[in-house]
């Protein structure tokens, strides 16, 4: 059916990946590299958000807090126990995943905007907690120790190393999402998103699947948090604010909520745009970029609620592209007539 065997589509995707991977070799400009790092980071975070927001339909605005919890977990472990951030990755995933899952579990009976409001409250609760918590540096935040380059401590002088870490994270997350999307788990999550009555009737516990989705989604964005802390080398409670969460939600909405590829495409559009706007507008009026976000958001929700991928699914472009790839498959001799 939808499943294609290895073919020209995969080769195309690998080529695209190769081009991305060659960027630091071709373009030495560090500014361009930082923009790509930001794109990869934002795409990863938006993919993580998608597990709960897109696949399961629970629109969370608490993901900046989940990200922040990951960043703090890694940083506190590094500063206090000299634990390698690489080891913090699985720890942050499980720890933050579990905390968010347990704390949010009583709220899964709430639907739509009521659930969203709870996630906002959730992020402010943590923002306040960390602002007043001595051990975590209070409102001043924590500066990560500087020093010589050290792979074990995820500490690098050049942007290039971070570029590849972020790229790997994004690719990995994308693969994870694709696998979930086509699995039994994915069917469960999507059924809950579409109709909880139907979910119950066919044997899916909405509560259980929302909890699984939260665990994975919060765990994944906590990993983004580990990267964030070690890349920027400074964290403070502001990273947990709901306004930050918008940055992770927006790419998924623009790209197409519920689509796996949507957050990727959205990030590649919104990050360069917001960088440009920041540079161009911040001298005029600060915060003007937020106005532009709002305008984009309203436009998407009003005119193309299914985002870019929603448009693409029914577009001529898709027909042309799939015709092109099918042709190529035939020419290259990839047999895809196997499926029923």
């Amino acid at each position: 059916m939808m499943k294609k065997r290895f073919g020209s589509r995969h080769i195309g995707a690998l080529l695209l990946l190769l081009i991305l991977a060659l960027i630091p070799v071709i373009i030495r400009n560090t500014y361009i590299q930082t923009i790509f790092i930001l794109i990869f980071y934002t795409a990863s975070a938006s993919l993580a958000w998608s597990v709960l927001g897109g696949l399961t339909g629970q629109l969370s605005l608490g993901h900046a807090a989940f990200m922040g919890l990951g960043a703090y977990t890694s940083t506190l472990l590094l500063v206090n126990a000299n634990l390698s951030p690489w080891l913090s990755i699985p720890i942050a995933f499980v720890f933050v995943g579990l905390i968010c899952m347990l704390l949010l579990s009583p709220c899964f009976v709430l639907h739509g905007p009521y659930f969203t409001l709870v996630t906002i409250a959730f992020s402010y609760a943590f923002l306040n907690l960390f602002t007043n918590w001595d051990y975590a540096g209070k409102g001043q935040g924590i500066v990560l120790p500087f020093g010589a380059e050290d792979f074990a401590l995820m500490r690098f002088k050049s942007k290039t190393s971070y570029f590849y870490i972020a790229l790997c994270m994004m690719v990995l997350f994308y693969i994870v999402l694709r696998l979930i999307d086509r699995s039994k788990l994915g069917y469960g999550l999507k059924t809950v998103r579409e109709d909880e009555g139907t979910a119950n009737a066919i044997g899916i516990s909405p509560l259980k699947y929302k909890m699984i989705a939260t665990f994975i989604s919060a765990g994944m964005i906590a990993v983004c948090g580990v990267f964030y802390a070690n890349y920027f080398r400074f964290i403070d409670p502001e990273i947990m604010a709901e306004s930050q969460a918008i940055e992770y939600v927006l790419p998924a909405i623009i790209g197409g909520i519920g689509s796996v590829t949507g957050p990727l495409i959205g990030a590649f559009i919104i990050v360069p745009l917001s960088q440009y706007l920041n540079a161009a507008l911040s001298s005029v009026v600060s915060g003007a970029n937020l106005v532009v976000y709002a305008v984009i958001l309203i436009a998407v929700v009003m005119f193309q609620p299914t985002g870019i991928m929603g448009w693409y699914q029914n577009s001529k472009l898709k027909k042309k592209l799939s015709g092109f790839f099918d042709n190529l498959d035939r020419k290259l001799g990839f047999d895809k007539s196997q499926n029923a």
Binding site: M1, K3, R182, S183, K184, G186, Y187, G188, K190, T191, R193, E194, D195, G197, T198, A199, N200, A201, I202, G203, I204, S205, P206, K208, G258, A340
Partner: protein, 246 residues
């Protein structure tokens, strides 16, 4: 024949309004039983209690000798109870095929691999006459096919007891005949059917037993013939239809 489902004096109140009042009847294994009654008679509410959407305020639902009071809503399909919704609940952003696959993955079959479930779903789609439409979204189909999808998804959970809530409403005579044939085929597979229906022709055609409800109460029960010749039924149910017809 053994009794599959037994309702013992069940009632349901919504904030003082008694939607179902002290109803008892039982459903025999492998039978087709009908429930008729005018709008608001409490038929759907009865289904909601049998399928675990909410528990009865009073009384018990016994399925295969077991009281269902402690069964969670999402566990009903695993014990073999599946239903359709009168107000159809298609999974809107999923294709017809994915709708049915979801039923196959969970429910009583509980298939682990999505691929295997897809194969089983194709079988169900064939059986229910939806195969040609497997790749479209439910919203792009007309009511008859949407109703079929409700049935197909419920069927994919591999039920023993299938609850059909007005799946023939709004069908033209040909479509009704097709649906009647489909339900016969389903019943021949050994699946017990309890159906709510307004279309008397379908009820008379399919059901061995008919339960008549009015204002939340069961007023009579019997074969379609008995029921339709019952003076009280004629007065409150068929009588009304005559009025609207004439």
């Amino acid at each position: 024949m053994a009794t599959l489902l037994e309702l013992n004096n069940i009632s349901k109140s919504f904030k003082g309004l008694k939607a179902v009042n002290d109803v008892s009847f039982s459903v025999e294994e492998k039978s087709i039983t009908g429930i008729i009654g005018s709008n608001g008679a409490g038929k759907t509410t009865l289904f909601n209690m049998i399928s675990g959407v909410f528990p009865p305020t009073e009384g018990t639902v016994i399925y295969k000798g077991k009281d269902l009071a402690s069964v969670k809503p999402y566990q009903y399909s695993s014990i073999g109870i599946a239903r359709t919704f009168q107000i159809m609940k298609p999974l809107k952003h999923m294709t017809v095929m994915e709708n049915v696959t979801s039923g196959a993955l969970f429910g009583r079959r509980n298939i682990k691999s999505a691929k295997e479930a897809e194969e089983y779903a194709l079988e169900i789609l064939n059986f229910t006459g939806l195969y040609e439409r497997r790749d479209v979204l439910p919203g792009s189909m007309g009511t008859p096919f949407k109703k079929r999808l409700e049935v197909a998804r419920a069927l994919a959970t591999d039920p023993e007891l299938l609850l059909l809530d007005e799946v023939m409403a709004g069908l033209n005579p040909t479509e009704t005949d097709d649906a009647i044939e489909l339900f016969r085929k389903i019943n021949e597979r050994g699946i017990t059917i309890l159906l709510i229906e307004h279309v008397m022709r379908a009820v008379a055609n399919l059901c061995e037993t008919v339960v008549v409800m009015h204002h939340g109460e069961k007023i009579t029960e019997g074969t379609p013939e008995q029921v339709m010749n019952d003076p009280y039924v004629i007065e409150i149910y068929l009588g009304k239809e005559d009025e609207t017809d004439g």
